[in-house]
Symmetry: C2
Subunit: 341 residues, 2 copies
Amino acid sequence: MPETLADIGEFGLIDRIDKLLREEGARLPEKTLGIGDDCASFVSRPGYELLVTCDAIVEGRHYLPRFISPIDLGRRAMDLNISDIGAMGGHTLYALVSLGLRADTPVKDVEAMYRGFIAELNPFDAAIIGGNLTKSEGANFIDITLIGEIESGKSVRRSTAKPGNTILVTGYPGQAAAGLQILLKARPVDDVRAHPLVQAYNTPSHRAREGEAVAGAGLATAMIDTSDGLLGDLGHICDESGVGARLIQENLPISSALREAAEQMKQEPLDFVLQDSDDYELIITCPPEHVDGICSLITSLSHIPVTEIGTITEKIDGIKLISHDGIPRDMTPSGWDHFAK
Amino acid sequence: MPETLADIGEFGLIDRIDKLLREEGARLPEKTLGIGDDCASFVSRPGYELLVTCDAIVEGRHYLPRFISPIDLGRRAMDLNISDIGAMGGHTLYALVSLGLRADTPVKDVEAMYRGFIAELNPFDAAIIGGNLTKSEGANFIDITLIGEIESGKSVRRSTAKPGNTILVTGYPGQAAAGLQILLKARPVDDVRAHPLVQAYNTPSHRAREGEAVAGAGLATAMIDTSDGLLGDLGHICDESGVGARLIQENLPISSALREAAEQMKQEPLDFVLQDSDDYELIITCPPEHVDGICSLITSLSHIPVTEIGTITEKIDGIKLISHDGIPRDMTPSGWDHFAK
């Protein structure tokens, strides 16, 4: 029987995590008070704004333990928050990790999750400075609050896209959604973990470094990550900015892996690209003259493709998809709605 | 059938909450970007440290819906976090509210919870600047991250108590724990909501204003709230400060309501005072010459009694309770351990 949280208790678990953080070389910057007091504390740099975000993932809802290892789960939970900081152009500094765990959860799984958190935080020199552990009676959950910083005035909002702006997207949105479908449809005998789309789902990449660079260079008018799906998040930009958008269907980036998988599943690749998502790509809007600058900046960081997918229009035009035959179709943004029937 | 989250969806709920925050006069300070972007953002004041804490409460584990109204639940969830900020001496500025909710949760209950949050935040001029809504498959949960500030160098830690310091406690720890027992033991026909101990459980008071004043005056050496129980939290101070403690049994504050209820339940009032807790009183340590200053400062704010309950000793002495007959008893700190068998 593996050792469980019931065996070592809350304070035993806190000690284990504390030890693990030290062993794994987790950062604990000076002037920061971490785990072990009522609050964590830190000092903000003059001339910088602070950014703060929180996102929870719930077992059975956002992940299925049989499909994802605890370390990958930790990485994914951290990445989706790092992505939010990066989508404003910020740099991640501190994390607070709040876990709801059943008492029968193996201690080694919790430790592996923390290894995943640290693996994602260390490249930013970011530290876990606090959190909360609580017993869950039902599904486990991971709720992370991240604090980041950005030079004052440099943050990129959702609300500042302008008609005439070019719409760019990084990478291949929709791959993770297709990966999830592959996992759900796999028979018990199939080992699909190595499938590139399954990997896109289990270990998605954030584009936080890219977002930070684009914001630092002052090249974008609006930015958002695709966590609610390309269309859903473009919809957020349009709502908040009071604009419309025209997407060119043939420009939407579809990887060969996605095209192939969609064909096997008898689904339209476009549905994956536009709708569902567990990807953390960036949608960026900018004046047309900044497109080259943004593309070369991002490519210099990560060889991630950046694709021009359309243009911001007037609000009255709504969101339109221009198909191969030139006919515009009205698109209702249908982001990932957590309570939808 | 009341309207549920399944009826209005996640984005519908966000709109409702946004509307409610405006109607209820919730604060949204300038220079703060609130709900509606990837992150919230704010600027810290020069000369101030930031404090950050998070605490989650889970249905069935930390509260039972049949015993607490949604507005009181909202107040309690917020208070326990405000208490953590206050126990460091800080002032609450911003909240991020992360909710895990079943789709059948009535919308009006969520709105009432937010009214509870706002009722506790408004006295501090504090704002909800972000959060997360997610569907829960099992128990609902409320996870709140609070950000506060304190003048640099003024925060009061757990780790700085000194032998010879006096130990003070505010109010009557243990009342909430007794209130919970009354709720659990009540027959369906009993209406115990008006019982003072039940009220202490359902609508506990934080001592954040008091903590802020004590820290501001520089009178305390260590401070902590009693959320893990008087003995558990005194144990945290002793562990982190490397000290022991001697508690004088006859000095421990026991309200007449608690004494009476304990007698009816055939339990020792002292067990409530020392062990379990859902109170948010403060344990304060200070040099003996500051006791009067702290007592008069706190009494001037809130008429809350402050009681001298003992003395900080050397680490080697451990934690001792001196009973009426003068005999010292070893006390094992037994805080509220979330995963204990």
